[in-house]
Symmetry: C2
Subunit: 671 residues, 2 copies
């Protein structure tokens, strides 16, 4: 009550309590039902046992929104989860939306309203903060008082029984008072919703997410904290990439970026100029430019000439520009303006150390002015020091130039803004391609047979037929049941051929002598058939193979893997990388979401693996057919999306040739 | 003068100036010569043009130490470098040591003396700070006033004409007032000195270095700043590892670690316990535990039972321990003491968010007391918030418990301390093994011939002989000059054989048809000889091969690479990794310094590469002879140390077998 009243909320406030006559000087009602007017939102701060009854009263009264601060729901175990379910179905019944339970509430500095039990009301600002941890909100608000950071909205998600991170991100994306959206989450409530709506949000404004539970121990801690099945961290990464979310890995990054986004424009490119009065910090910043994915601008000849003409001979006139320790404001100002004028410069950072003649305050004023004069080129500053720079730092911050104490976070913030531009361009440009109509009937028929057999794993011959139905080039594989049949089929397909034992129960066929390669005659095939059966019987006496598969030997190509696995939250993910025995060894596999995979994403997948070096033509080899490789990825994705019952696909190897590809060994498992 | 006087220096101070009668109320001398008593140290704050004359006077007067603040030396170009050289030789002539020139001076808070022109004198503390950037010292001192950080000594290195980082690190290592040594450098002055003396220093106390110029652009900026040849960043990494230096990559890490080291003991192991009043920060910290190389302690059964018995049922009783948002001091205290008592816990972190009933101040007092009660188990805290936690944070810092605002740096600091323990144990345990006396005579004879031929590259047969002289198992390679000779030699060694064109000018022999493998008869060898010569002539008409080398075909093993290249600062570095065509593709190569390489380092090299997965026996294969592999590494290192004229060694592949190894293709280049 105190918080709501003090926040200056302009609407009508009705305290409800059966025992009190008035609260904060406002007349109190014994129950919701007794309130004369309409009620939009009810804020619950009552024992858990009373929540259901009061929610029912709210429903009857026509209340639209519930904010339930009360704890004692899902987070406490089974009984609490049951209670939460009942609360949610009440909300559904009466068409009410619910924030919480077990949350610290909601703040809107522009309405204004502070419907939380947190201490203090933050100043107005353009940051929306959404947090799955209530305590973290308390910490952040307290810390922001020191740092002078303002907010537009603050959402505490609590147990996310109804409203979740996606709802809040979407609302904040449409909120004219919000410029950047920060989010701390431990899981997402619904992967597909997240993908759809957050992609729309990032096109409107930056969404920066700190998702914890990245490590195994952390994921364990998260799942015991929220009771949620979090999905793999890899899947989160692919999903965030898809949506254009900026992912950060620490709380300080979250705020460094937020400050940059609220005060500066997004840079039009990666090229940054650094102006410093000290060599050391200039070098440190330059190191970070490269490692954070920006690049040092190369100045135009005129810029260099102008710097050379006007700076002392010992000054650094290339990037970083070192205006030297004896630089006063004029020299800083001249150098900064000169590089900002340069077309090759997209952004700039000013680094200042407090040496003898430095004028931190006047220099700050000059930097702020230049920032206004060149509004398209974002600026950040690192004022490296303490009390002697405090006034100057304040002028910078007040003037909208993000000011840090160390050079590293200044560069990191600019790099994050630049990354947002790239992500946004990508998200905006995404084009999904479907180039043909697959033969789903064949696939359905095969799955029907497999299920009738009570199997989950397809035989190699079946799997090959499935991918062939999606026009993935594969080497025909035929299942045979006797040495004679094998020899006859081999005669049909032509030599040399490969024999492989057909059994979904055998993982590594080679290890049990279940594969014979390079067979050149019908006689070879017959004796190999017998030999393979003997080997398998010796190693795995309990396994009775379905027979033996014959495949014509394919010419050797570059071995790739294309695979699919399903994440509980984000659905099928497609993997691509170097194949053969190197898959496990090198882990050179990259992933994207199958759903709505785009031409660009497939290009990125291929080019970000080490396999790419081989595919482009390694040491004089001809490059392979990248178009054919990308078709395999695309079509495996289609297959995975069309048939949700496929749990896993593993094509290893796919041979890539100068012309075309061939899928050699295909494993498909159903769920 | 002001700084010296105000620092409370107790020795005699003589201002020297030809124009003044007195400075700061102290009588002034027109020249050094006129001073009545003995002078230990002279501090130069005069124009560059006067430095030489005054230095000569100092020498004549018997001054032992010069601190030259004056700029205008090496950093300004050729003339300045000349002046610096003269200054240095004057110092050598008169047996004087020199700090600078172009430095900001020297501070010792215990003597006390402030011989810098920096603003402000830092409080006493146990941190020695050594910096190659004067401006950074100004920044750090100013910042430290805010952060309340004290120092024992501060050294500004300037141009390092005489005294350099190694001298200062060594002095600080022996200084009883210093507990931790921080260092910012852009290069080292002498690699071999650094290796020798810094290793001794790190055994005494932690040495933490921020070395800039890690990126290509940064290295360029550094070299234009200091004019020094910095050596490769890779070499710095291997050298720091060797010496036991803790390398950090940002200024904030430098200080986070320093604070931890000065106030807490080094943990006895990696296992950390986390006590938090909020789930979210607990998960974030847990994530970092894993990624920074610590591990979450697994509590003993008694610990878990005690926590279960005494904490509320919703509390997290495994690690991280979540004492819940309504925890007051007693609950924090109980949980922290319970986990500190546990033998499986080596260190602990307390995370506190300011929720309703939190008692930041009282909790801080309890934490400080517990820290005293368990002095062997280091503690760090993250007080996440602002003004409402400030008092508590002050109590923690004053009580010697490092207190951070975010959980991430708290965990990072503990991880750094744990890493120091590991590095120190390793450095202390280093044993270099030399297991035999190599046949240097053969190597000298071969090098003699190569030099007489005016060649730099050895032929394959020569290179094979060189490594055989160091008892590296290789496949004998014979140089032949005609088809008939080749056939005869092949008959001698037995079939099958490989033919390779012998020419140091051909880099990739296979690409020009210069290699024939699997030759089984004398006839095959003869025709292959002719064929190879024809191929080479066709592709490279200007190259006249020395002949053709014959080698018996080795059975296929796991392909490894062992190589050596020389760094300008740190000398020969040995590389090891996956060989064959994968070297460039996968870059799975790790490096160590050849000089003084130890058994442990070689073990680390082998086990930190991806090759290790193969070497241990991949998917049912037998493991290879790791002892034989490590001998190759050790002996290549010996060879590189014994013969400084070897610029590069490249053995690719070395085949590794179940028993023994075989070096197949050896390239050696002289300088």
């Amino acid at each position: 009550m105190n918080n709501i009243v003090q926040s200056g909320y302009k609407g009508k406030i009705y305290p409800v309590n059966p025992k009190e006559k008035e609260i904060n000087g406002i007349p109190c009602f014994p129950s919701i039902t007794g309130i004369p007017g309409k009620v939009d939102t009810a804020i619950f701060s009552v024992p858990a046992g009373k929540v259901l009854d009061i929610a029912r009263e709210c429903g009857a009264k026509g209340v639209k929104n519930l904010i339930v601060l009360t704890a004692g729901f899902k987070e406490t175990g089974r009984a609490g989860a049951e209670l939460e379910k009942k609360l949610l179905s009440l909300c559904e019944q009466y068409n009410m939306r619910l924030l919480g339970p077990n949350c610290v509430g909601f703040i809107d500095t522009h309405t204004p309203i502070n419907a939380t039990f947190l201490k203090g009301f933050p100043p107005q600002g353009e940051i929306a903060f959404i947090s799955q941890s209530g305590a973290m909100l308390a910490a952040i608000l307290d810390w922001s008082r020191l740092a002078g950071i303002g907010y537009s909205k603050i959402y505490s998600l609590g147990n996310k029984a109804d409203l979740n991170e996606v709802d809040c991100i979407s609302e904040a994306a449409d909120d004219p008072n919000t410029k950047v959206i920060l989010c701390y989450i431990e899981d997402v409530s619904c992967g597909s919703e997240f993908l759809k709506k957050v992609t729309q949000a990032t096109l409107k404004k930056p969404v920066i997410i700190l998702k914890s539970g990245t490590s195994q121990a952390g994921a364990q801690a998260a799942s015991s904290h929220t009771g949620a099945l979090a999905g793999s961290d890899l899947a989160y990464n692919t999903a965030f990439k898809r949506c254009g979310v900026l992912r950060v890995y620490s709380m300080s990054e979250l705020f460094d970026l937020a400050i940059a986004f609220t005060s500066q424009p997004v840079p039009k490119g990666e090229k940054i100029a650094i102006v410093t009065n000290s060599g050391g910090p200039g070098i440190i910043a330059t190191d970070k430019v490269e490692s954070y994915g920006l690049s040092m601008a190369r100045f135009a000849k005129e810029t260099i000439d102008e710097l050379r003409l006007n700076l002392p001979p010992e000054a650094g006139i290339y990037n970083p520009v070192d205006v030297l320790g004896d630089a006063r404001t004029d020299r800083f100002k001249f150098a900064l303006e000169t590089v900002l004028k340069d077309e090759n410069v997209h952004s700039a950072a000013v680094l200042l150390c407090p040496v003898a003649v430095t004028e931190p305050l006047e220099t700050a004023q000059a930097v702020v002015e230049l920032n206004k004069a060149y509004p398209d080129k974002p600026l950040v500053a690192a004022y490296m020091g303490g009390p002697s720079l405090a006034e100057g730092a304040k002028v910078l911050s007040a003037g909208g130039v993000p000011c840090f104490t160390m050079p590293e976070p200044a560069i990191a913030a600019m790099a994050g803004m630049s990354m947002y531009r790239k992500l946004k361009e990508r998200t905006a440009a995404e084009i999904t391609v479907t180039d043909f109509k697959p033969d789903q009937k064949t696939v359905k028929a095969i799955f029907y047979d497999v299920k009738r057999d009570n199997r989950l794993a397809l035989l190699g011959s079946e799997a090959a037929e499935v991918i062939a139905a999606y026009r993935i080039d594969t080497i025909p594989t035929v299942l045979t049941h006797s040495p004679e049949e094998a020899a006859a089929k081999a005669d049909d397909m032509g030599y040399p051929v490969v024999l492989k034992v057909a059994s979904p129960r055998i993982q590594h066929k080679t290890d049990v002598g279940g594969v014979k390669i390079g067979l050149k005659t019908a006689g070879d095939v017959k004796s190999a058939y017998v030999n393979v059966m003997e080997n398998v019987h010796r190693y795995l006496p309990k396994v009775i193979p379905h027979g033996i598969e014959i495949q014509k030997m394919a010419p050797k190509g570059i071995e790739l893997i294309v695979g699919m696995s399903r994440d509980v939250q984000f659905g099928p993910m497609i993997g691509f990388g170097l194949g053969g025995i190197y898959v496990n060894l090198l882990k050179d596999v990259t992933f994207r979401l199958a759903n709505g995979i785009t031409v660009n994403e497939i290009k990125e997948m291929i080019s970000e693996t080490k396999a790419y070096t081989l595919l482009k033509g390694y040491r004089g080899d001809k490059p392979v057919d990248l178009e054919a490789v990308s078709k395999v990825i695309r079509r495996v994705a289609m297959l995975a999306v069309d048939f949700p019952e496929i749990m896993e696909i593993d094509i290893n190897p796919v041979f890539a040739y100068e012309h075309g590809v061939a899928a050699l060994d295909v494993k498909i498992t159903l769920s």
